[in-house]
């Protein structure tokens, strides 16, 4: 197990390097000069040249990348071109909001999707199944930017239950924090819930056909126990896989949801920084998100062994 984890961790190094190279190249291939964006169209060419030099942006690209990488491996992700704030501090400042939003959205989706997925599998072709399936398709089809604004319109403007925008950190007030996150979490969680529900339903249906389930039934085990104790555990393996892969989609979705609800998360930081061509911030934030994504998927792989005793890692 330890060797497996060590091997997996070593394998992440080239992946992370590739991510940083790609992000660096994409940012520099994209037209747009951070200095011109900062100084605006009325800046004199002298001012542009001076600022570009002051920010070390007039050096050759390989030198810039090498310098960034050297500092990054020493734990220094540089400073924002616009605000001069250290990138690590900026990202870590924003990380809790994104983490909380994503975690709560995942929790919400599991709370909705697992019971409904199991029920619609057990009661296949019933009225419940007929209701849940179109709901799931609607959930997958609804774009979050549309759902978010719809929720704001209904639950903030028509029914003043939740704030339209704003964020209260968890450390300031737990109740206030959850209150501000209800609409964003629902917006982000609905699509994931729909996907997980479809996977759960299909997986449970498949597992219910397995021999060991038939054996359990033959032994006289009650149906709820058969489903929840015997079938569900095995059926959860594809669900966990999908959840791991959906972490990327969740972080991508967080970019949109954070923008709609004006949440101070990493997603919005990246979007703002891309528009401003704030290279170090985009580079650092994407690096941290990539590491998070890799970590989640490693955790998913390790979880297989807990769910299915037949799986062993060497």
């Amino acid at each position: 197990m330890t060797r497996y984890v060590a091997r997996r961790l070593l394998a992440t190094i080239p992946v992370v390097l590739l991510v940083t190279v790609m992000v660096f190249l994409l940012l520099h291939i994209t037209p747009g000069d951070p200095v011109v964006i900062m100084l605006g169209e009325e800046a004199s060419p002298d001012a542009v040249t001076a600022l570009r030099h002051a920010l070390d942006l007039d050096r050759p690209l390989p030198v810039q990348y090498g310098d960034w990488l050297w500092h990054a491996v020493h734990g220094d992700l540089g400073a924002s071109l616009r605000t001069h704030d250290p990138v690590t501090a900026l990202v870590l400042e924003r990380y809790p909001a994104t983490l909380e939003l994503s975690a709560l959205a995942m929790l919400l989706s599991l709370c909705i999707a697992i019971p409904l997925g199991v029920l619609s599998a057990v009661r296949r072709n019933s009225w419940l199944d007929a209701l849940v399936t179109p709901l799931a398709i609607s959930g997958i089809s609804m774009p979050s930017f549309w759902l978010g604004i719809l929720l704001i319109w209904v639950f903030s403007v028509l029914l003043p239950w939740f704030p339209t925008v704003g964020f209260i950190p968890l450390g300031v007030s737990v109740a206030g924090n959850l209150h501000t996150l209800v609409l964003p979490v629902v917006t982000l969680g609905v699509a994931l819930a729909a996907i997980v529900m479809r996977i759960t339903r299909a997986s449970v249906l498949q597992v219910l056909q397995f021999d060991y389930v038939r054996t359990a039934r033959a032994k006289g085990v009650r149906e709820p126990v058969v489903v929840l104790r015997h079938a569900l555990r095995t059926a959860l393996i594809p669900v966990v896989t999908v959840l791991g892969l959906q972490t990327g989609a969740l972080l991508g979705g967080a970019v949109i949801v954070e923008t709609i609800f004006a949440l101070p998360g990493v997603g919005r930081l990246i979007v703002d920084s891309i528009f401003a061509r704030d290279f170090p911030v985009v580079q650092g934030a994407v690096l941290i998100l990539a590491i998070s994504f890799i970590a989640v998927n490693l955790a998913v792989d390790l979880m297989y062994a807990r769910l299915d005793p037949r799986i062993r890692y060497r």
């Binding site: 747009g32 000069d33 900062m38 100084l39 009325e42 001012a47 909001a97 925008v165 101070p264």
Partner: protein
């Protein structure tokens, strides 16, 4: 609406226009709801309460020497004071400087207000002001304000209450420049203490002092008890909340999550105006949206071809259809609120396809031509560009639209890599800056290929004319030249739009778009 409004405004001189606008704004009036006139003028101000303001995004920096984002300015209005202020008629008024005069063509003297202190307790005097100017003027500091006070070479603290600025050449609009970000005074002790960190630790003399900035979310400020204006401010504090999505911003003010916001979507303004809980301002500002052209290359180097574009575009229809009548069709570079605006100058009073075709033939393009136009990837700009494309198509001009993000568009614009582009310029109180930067033959920012000795001469005379009315006459002539030579095809004067919850009282709209809350208070529920 705007076409009608312009027709109604035409016979009025600018001074009368401003007087009327100020009378309305001074009474705390919205565009609608006549019964609110008495309410807005009557109540005695109440103390306390916290105002929440929705901005287009989170601030980028709270150090005025380095900002280039319009959004930051809204926070500066309450954290800092400028040497010179403006009133609701955009007239210069004393602020941290109680008076100012040109000692000679190249020396300006400012008498400073006594008894003013910064939020950190540092006294404001000429030495503090000198530190601020030294910082802006230092080429190594790379301040974005340097270009806003051209020709200023040095600051001198004559005595504690007298500051002199020495210039290398006459620059009469200097006091106007000092009513903007270049005239903001920051605590010299804070400049020493924080250095670059001043961006997150602002210390000014404004009515509100900085409390904290939750990056990406909001900024909190609280009333400064030592503010030099007696009994101000009325409110305990203000929260500035960044809301990047304009749809959400409109909903936020409607739901009461925020009390005030600016830059509303024009499509939302009608609905917001009908909301009894809101007061909506949609009033002329200082901006002009234009189709900017590269006139050094054929076929646009031919004035007749540019004039054809002018006749082919129906500005009134665009403003009515694309912008729901918010704003006004443009005539030249200067909008009605600017110094030097001439209400009698209207080179293209209405669309005239016959004249457009005749001018195209005169310019050697009887069958039209194809023109690539780079535009911002923004729904309203795209609609505007599509309307222009449609109208130009009627005279055989094929406008090819290329949509770009802001960074790319800006990069290509300043590098002169465009044939045509649609951009809005946010003007300044005195138009010298815009005129000189974009149209002066020698300006490195004149990427349009416009060269006019006559225009250059007018600007030189304006720069040397201390009297603002005398200067305005030169600006009027310069504006007429631009409206005739057409390096840009002037499209529309956008309105500044703001929405306030009805509980916000004592607010006065200023045509520079600044939301100033020094005299505002919150009506108790």
């Amino acid at each position: 609406m705007s076409g009608d409004r312009h027709a109604a405004h035409d016979p009025l001189p600018r001074r009368e226009l401003l007087r009327r606008a100020a009378a309305l704004a001074g009474a705390g009036l919205a565009l609608r709801a006549a019964p609110r006139i008495a309410l807005a003028a009557g109540p005695v101000p109440t103390r306390g309460g916290v105002l929440t303001v929705g901005l287009d995004s989170d601030a980028t920096t709270l150090d005025p020497a380095y900002t280039t984002a319009e959004v930051d300015g809204q926070i500066y209005y309450i954290l800092y004071d400028t040497l010179i202020g403006v009133d609701a008629q955009l007239r210069l008024i004393p602020k941290l400087a109680t008076s100012w005069r040109a000692v000679n063509d190249t020396t300006w003297e400012f008498k400073l207000r006594p008894g003013v202190q910064f939020h950190d307790g540092t006294a404001f005097d000429a030495r503090a002001a000198k530190v601020n100017f030294d910082r802006i003027l230092d080429p190594k500091a790379g301040s974005a304000r340097r270009g806003e006070i051209p020709y200023v070479e040095a600051a001198e603290a004559v005595d504690a209450a007298t500051l002199r600025l020495h210039l290398s050449s006459a620059f009469a609009p200097l006091p106007y420049s000092l009513s903007g970000d270049a005239g903001i005074m920051v605590s010299p002790a804070a400049i020493d203490k924080y250095g670059k960190e001043l961006a997150s630790n602002p210390v000014g003399t404004g009515p509100f002092a900085f409390v904290r900035w939750l990056k990406g979310d909001h900024i909190e400020v609280k009333a400064f008890p030592g503010y030099w204006q007696k009994d101000r401010p009325y409110m305990d504090g203000i929260h500035y909340q960044g809301i990047p999505d304009p749809e959400v911003k409109g909903n936020a003010v409607r739901s009461g999550t925020i009390d005030a916001c600016e830059n509303l979507l024009t499509k939302d303004i009608g609905d917001l105006q009908r909301d009894p809980g809101l007061v909506v301002y949609a009033k002329p500002g200082l901006s002009v949206a234009s189709l900017r052209l590269q006139i050094s290359k054929p076929p646009l180097n031919n004035p007749a071809v540019r004039e054809a574009l002018g006749w082919a575009i129906d500005r009134a229809a665009i403003n009515r259809i694309v912008y729901y009548g918010i704003g006004a069709p443009a005539r030249a570079f200067l909008p009605p609120t600017a110094l030097g605006y001439d209400p009698h100058f209207n080179p293209f009073p209405q669309r005239d396809l016959m004249r457009a075709k005749a001018k195209l033939a005169e310019g050697g393009q009887p069958h039209g031509f194809s023109l690539t136009c780079q535009i911002l990837n923004n729904p309203e700009i795209i609609q505007l560009a599509q309307a222009i494309k449609q109208q130009l198509f009627d005279v055989g001009i094929d406008l090819q639209l290329v949509t770009l993000d802001n960074g790319t568009l800006l990069g290509r614009l300043v590098a002169g890599q465009f044939a045509a582009t649609i951009v809005t310029y946010f003007g300044t109180l005195d138009p010298f800056q815009g005129f000189s930067r974009f149209f002066l033959s020698t300006s490195p920012l004149n990427v349009y290929g416009y060269k006019s000795p006559q225009f250059d001469g007018l600007l030189a005379k304006a720069a040397a004319t201390a009297d603002s009315q005398g200067r305005a006459a030169f600006y009027t002539q310069a504006d007429r030249l631009l409206g005739t030579d057409l390096p840009w095809i002037f499209l529309r004067y956008p309105d500044y739009t703001q929405a306030m919850r009805a509980r916000v009282q004592g607010y006065t709209y200023t045509p520079d778009g600044g939301m100033r809350f020094t005299n505002s208070w919150l009506k108790p529920a």
